[in-house]
Structures are given as C-alpha cells and as structure tokens.
Amino acid sequence: MEMPVPDPAILSRKAHLSRRLGAVLPADAIIASEAETRAYECDALTAYKCPPLLAVLPRTTAEVSDILRICHEEGVPVVPRGSGTSLAGGALPTADCVILGVARMNEVLETDYENRIIRVQSGRTNLSVSGAVEEDEFFYAPDPSSQLACAIAGNIAMNSGGAHCLKYGVTTNNLLGVTMVMMDGTIVEIGGAHLDAAGLDLMGVICGSEGQLGVVTEATLRILRKPEGARPVLIGFDSNEVAGACVSDIIKAGVLPVAIEFMDRPCIRACEAFAKAGYPDCEALLIIEVEGSEAEIAHQLTLIKGIAQSHSPVELREAGDAEEAARIWLGRKSAFGAMGQINDYMCLDGTIPVSSLPFVLRRIGELSKEFGLDVANVFHAGDGNMHPLILFDANKPGDLELCEEFGAEVLKLCVDAGGCLTGEHGVGVEKRDLMLYQYSAVDLEAQLKVKDVFDPKWLLNPAKVFPLSETQSRRQVLAAE
C-alpha cells in the first residue's frame, strides 16, 4: 500500500505550526511528542501505521475552525479522526499531516422529543447517543458493530450502517443537520431539525465523503421511539444456497424484518467455540429479528417460519424470552471477536444484489481453495452487505499480501455481480486502488470535482478514497504552493 511521500518543507515547520496552533488552543489540546503522536498512528486497520506530525484535540467548533484556518494557510494536510475505529484506514495519517481528533467534543447539545431529534457534538459515541435518550424509550437507529466506541463524526464520514438498517436505513437516512467547518475555517450550517434541507442536497454528499469535504462538529440526528418489543428467530440450513433462497422468499412475501443476519459454517463454529451460544452445527444460519406489538411479532414470525419450513431447515428456534433472545444474538455479536481469537483476519465489506448471494458464496469458496486461505462469512443478508473474513497469519511472510490479493478478488466479484466494493466501512486506503474497477475514470473525475469545490487545495484527508494516480495532479498543486 502506497502513501504520498511526506513533504519535507512541512516536516521542517513542525515547531512553527505547533506554535501557531498553540496560540489558539489550550496547551492540552496539542500533541506533539513522538511518544504521544504514536497513539494516532493507525485506526482499526492496523496493518498500516504512520505517526502524524501533530495531533490536535479541540473542544469547540470555534477551535476546529481556528485549526483548519491555520493549516489551510500553512498548506498542511489534515486527517480528521473520530474514535479511530475505521476498518478501511480512513483515519490513517501521513507523516506530514495534522490529525484532528474530535473525541473531546462529546456533549449532547439538545434533546427534543416533540420534534424527535437529538443534537450532539460529533465526537460523541454512537451508543451513547442512544444512551442519552434510552430512559425515555427512544433510540438512534444506525448501529454499527463498533457502536460502543465509534463516533458520530466517523459514522457521518463513512455513512455507517449496522445490523438494523434493513428497516431503519443507514446514517444518511437518519441525519437531519450538520455544523461543518470547511478547510479554510468557514463554519457552515446545513439542514436542521426540519426534515429536508433547502437547496442542493449537500448533506447527502457530505455524508460518506470520508472526511474529505469538511469536518462535521455537530449533528442533528433523528431519534425514534423504541418498538413495543422485538424477537429474533434462528434458522439453520444445510446449504448456503437454501439459506439465500429463504431470505429472498421472505422479502418477496412482504415481510420486512429489522434484521436478517447470515453466518456460514466456519463462522458458526468459531462463534460457538468462543461464545457458546448454543448454535447448531450446520452449513448456514440465519438470525431474523422482527419487532412491533406482541401480535405483530407473532404474526411476522408465523409467516417467516412458514417460509423457512418450506426450505427444510435443520433447526428453527424462536426466542421464548429475553434471555433466549440474547443468546441467539450473542454468537453473532461476538463474531468478529471470535474470529480474532483464532486468527488474524481481514474483514471485507462488499455489497451484492440479494439474488446473487448463492453464486457469490460459492465463488468465494472456490477462491478460498485457490488462495489456500480460509474464509468465514457473516453478513447482513437482507441488504446484501457481505462481510467475508479472510483468515491469515500476520507472522507468516507473504500471508498479508496473499490475503489482500484474495480480498481484492472477492471485491471485484461483488462488483461483477452487480454490487459494490463497500457497503458500510468506506474506501479509505484499503479499497482505494480498486475504485477504477467499479467506476470509470470519468465517473471518478466527477467525484474529484466535488472535492475541488469544497476543498480546492486538497488538504483534507487527501490520500484516501481515490487511487493516488488519479489525484496526484491535484495534490501536487498544494505541494507547489
């Protein structure tokens, strides 16, 4: 993986930059020592590391504005960072960049149940947004697996999803307004507590732009009343194809569960060994959750079980109470931890049309044999968002590279099947070089033009999302200045 060569002129101005930032920030907001900047050398994609020039931890929108204005004047790249849980390297620094971390900006600014919104500073963690309204029976819907740690800022940057987005949508569908600081320090307000923002849908393009268009410091989020109840059912099948067909039939029948999770045998076994959730030993497992009133839950589950029965399941288990429901989810929720315990793994995130699920799973199996690396599949089946986990040994020379090569083949397969490279993790550095497989050069050029408008000097997270070859001329303009 290639990153741009750090600009020696910037490296030589570290003390100067530090002084300028020090003039507008409290002393504890600037991290400059080599020992401390190391804490920001990577995100959750730990295969790549590079300590930044400086890290800054502002507490207010005004401080963010000052930081960006100074970096803009100095021509220094800025890499925004939420909680650093990106699996795609979205917050990976370069040696000549300033990491702008929003972790200290974690206040709830306003809770308004009449209008069903919450306004928070963007460093607040996803789960603590729901936590702030939970006692009043409300919740914030997008629920990425990392929700305990991940920040709303990162959720907005990556347009994060989660297990329950089949019904509730992803971040972009639950974001009503932002306060954002542009690279030159200008503070803009987009949208608000009303349902549709005026003018062009700028919020729509900011959400998912991986911190390349601006730094979101505050967000107005839609909160929802909790359903009366929810219940999962677990269904085991003796083949992936049959499980895939069952998912398609359920959706066609007009039932819209809040979640349909899929696990294959390697994943089931690993989870079972790790979490002892009592999963059956079978080829494929579906966890389907429905919600609503007791009558509605019972009705939907009857329909789902009827459809499942027609596919001859090897196991069909409905949660009888809260404890059984928790057990059904236990294995799934610990899937990544379970896999991490037995192996190093790389988690992919391609999305495919639900109808090509059996084909894609079969092909991944074939590729697994070709590359000699095992794969465990766990994913959101209702919306086709796959999460193949490729297992490798980081201590074995060449294994990481082999794994990356394998991963690239799987992602290309997703695109070939009519899907895309990433459903919810983002491109970051990880999938940057595959962008030309999904988009033509002119399609990418249209996206680059959007960045030209928001960040003409290409200083915000400049080495991400797009192949470096496509952005080189733009990034060089700033180096020349």
Partner: protein, 373 residues
C-alpha cells in the same frame, strides 16, 4: 424541442448545445425555465425489476404511472408517495420517474420511510458538457466513493440530466387504517401530531386538512401493516385520544385511500385562487406558519410540512425570517415568481458551494439556468 431516445443521443444533444436548455420530464411540476425544451420522455422503459431484492432500475423518462402499475403487480410500491402536481398547478402531461427524483418529491409517508432521496440507489446522468456519468448502483448499502446519488436527487436537473435511476421499492402492506379527529385547533392538533409520533405505534401518516364550507377541520393519523396489527395500533391510538371527537376509519376503505391522496396532492387548494407556498419547518414551529389566520393551510409530515394558500403576491418567506427551515413558492404568477423567487435563497457560504458545484458540472451554464438560485 429536443427529445433524444437513448442516452447517447441525450449526451450528444447536451454536448452540442450552446444555449440554455429547459430540462423536462412530463412538464407537470411548473418549473419550466426559458430555453429550448430538452425532454427525457424518449428515454423510457424498465431495465431491471427484482421483487425479491426490492430493486427497480428504470429509465428516467418512464411514466410514473407505468412504474407504479408494475410495482403493484408484485404487491410492491414506491414507499415515499410522490405527489402528482397536476391538480394543484393545473398542468397537463404525464409525470415521469425522473421528474420525481429530480425534484425529490415525497408525500405523507416521508415521516416514516424517508424521502425520495432515501430510496434512490443509483443514477446515470449526463452532465452539462455531455459526459455520461454514473454513481451508486442497485444495492441498498453502498458507500463506495462520494454519494452523488443524493446530490442529483432534488437538483432539478441543474447538475445533469438523469437518464436512468435505480430505486429501492418496498412491499405494500396488506392493510391500512386511519384515525380521524375533528375540529381541533392548531395547538391541539400539534399536540396530537407530536404525541402519535412519539408513540411506538409506527404511524405512517400524520396530516390535517381544512374543512370544506364550514365543516370541521380534520386531523388524520395513519397506520399500515398486517391487518391484526393495524387494528391493534389503531385501537391504541384511539385510546390515547378518547376525550376528542374521534373516529376510526374502516380499513382499506375508499375514504381511507382518498384522504391520503388528498393530502399527498394538496387537493383542498386545487382550483382555488391564490398563491401556494410549501414550507418545511420543525414540527413545533408549525404554529408560526398556521398562526397566520388569513390563510388556509394543509399540514403534512406531522407538522413538518405546511402548504399555505395565500393572497396573490404575498411574500410568506418574509414573514418567517426568524423560523429555521425554508419556503418554496410552488404556485404563483410568473411575475410573482420572478419577484420573490421560487426557492429560498441560501446563506452565502452554502450558495457559494452550490454555485461552485454547478460550475463544475455545467460549465456552459445551460442546464435549467435560473432554477434553484
């Protein structure tokens, strides 16, 4: 009039244009600008429909009615209930799916399922230089690169001309029911709006229509789903308001369907003299708009969307300068439109970004020039 019949011809038409073009689908939404008409109606037809994946890919000029009929044949629908502007504006023509997307047109169910933009998965379009571009795709979760899909939705053709759209569709529930409350004042109505939307009963429509000729104003709350569940939730809602003059509507009745059609298409203002404004505010600010007693108002989105029928030439926007949100002048004489502007002007930094985007995507300045500021 230019009426290309495929994407290549569309691209050619735009590439060779040197004067402003008026981009038009069915031409039913009353937003025509000066210039030669470029009609998308020649780009029509379904490319792909997978009911099991809830996905539809269709050319932009396809009539909306054709799309809705196709979906209905599989028990599915466009969940965001796009409005038909013909009744309100007195326009003729056949609304197209591209027009719906270009205007981000969303009806009563927007409060529960989101707007048109939330159901748009992918686009193909031709920019102002004649370049064919694509963004997004046909899968429900996609964060690969920037989301130009959202940017194109609601851009009214100012950044490019849509040639194909890919949509998420949803199953049509087996049953729908409505609670009707009669003669509530605005304050009481707002309390009902907020209370039902705070309830766990998953309401899919909250609206209020003015009474006809001295009849009571009517406030509506809709639930949809499986029959037993609809009955249950309707009863629960009914219990919440047993002190009010309230009625439960027979489910799936003609009346029930007609009510929501009236809200969606703003029926009470059809053929009535006066200008029509569409204001988007946070629900609790609804009173600021509906408090203007001189005017009639139709309220949707649980108070978040207000249609106001006002005397000709009145600047509603001017009366709401301190209310966050925005107001669009939907129906008025050409003179009033020119004088007041159809779309709400944006704060300077946002206007600069929008202007910058238009310059990048339409450097010749030929796509719906003058629209959206």
């Amino acid at each position: 009039m230019l009426r290309p019949e495929n994407e290549d011809d569309l691209a050619e038409a735009i590439a060779s244009a040197s004067a402003p073009l008026c981009i038009q689908g069915g031409g039913t939404r009353g937003l025509a600008v000066p210039g030669e008409i470029l009609s998308t109606t020649g780009l029509s037809g379904v490319e792909l429909y997978e009911p099991g994946a809830l996905t539809l890919v269709v050319k932009a000029g396809t009539p909306l009615a054709e799309v809705e009929n196709l979906l209905a044949s599989e028990g599915q629908r466009l969940a965001f209930e796009p409005m038909d502007h013909r009744g309100l504006l007195g326009t003729k023509g056949e609304p197209t799916i591209g027009g719906v997307i270009a205007g981000n047109i969303s009806g009563p169910r927007r409060i529960q399922v989101g707007a048109a933009r939330d159901h748009l998965l992918g686009v193909r379009f031709v920019d102002g230089t004649g370049q064919v571009l694509k963004n997004g795709g046909r899968v429900m979760k996609n964060v690969t690169g920037y989301d130009l899909v959202k940017l194109m939705c609601g851009a009214h053709g100012t950044l490019g001309v849509l040639s194909e759209v890919s949509l998420k569709v949803l199953p049509k529930p087996e049953c729908s029911g409505t609670m009707v409350l009669y003669g509530l004042g605005w304050t009481a109505a707002l309390k009902v709006f907020c209370d039902v939307l705070k309830s766990p009963y998953d309401v899919t429509g909250v609206a209020r229509l003015p009474g006809r000729d001295g009849d009571y104003d009517r406030t509506f709350v809709r639930v949809e789903g499986f029959e037993d569940s609809v009955k249950y939730r309707l009863n629960k809602l009914y219990e919440m308001f047993s002190d009010f003059p309230v009625e439960k509507l027979t489910m799936n009745s003609e009346t029930n369907v007609r009510i929501w059609q009236s809200v969606q298409d703003v029926d009470p203002f059809h053929d009535k003299p006066g200008d029509v404004w569409r204001t988007s505010v946070k629900p609790t600010d609804m009173i600021r708009v509906t408090g203007m007693w001189d005017y009639k108002h139709v309220v949707d989105w649980g108070g978040g969307l207000i249609w106001s029928l006002v005397s000709e030439g009145v600047d509603l926007r001017e009366k709401l300068t301190d209310v966050p949100g925005h107001a669009t002048l939907v129906r008025a004489s050409d003179e009033t439109r020119t004088q007041l502007g159809v779309f709400q002007p944006q704060p300077a930094p946002l206007a600069a970004i929008s202007h910058g985007l238009r310059q990048k995507f339409d450097p010749k300045g030929i796509l719906n020039l003058g629209l959206m500021g």
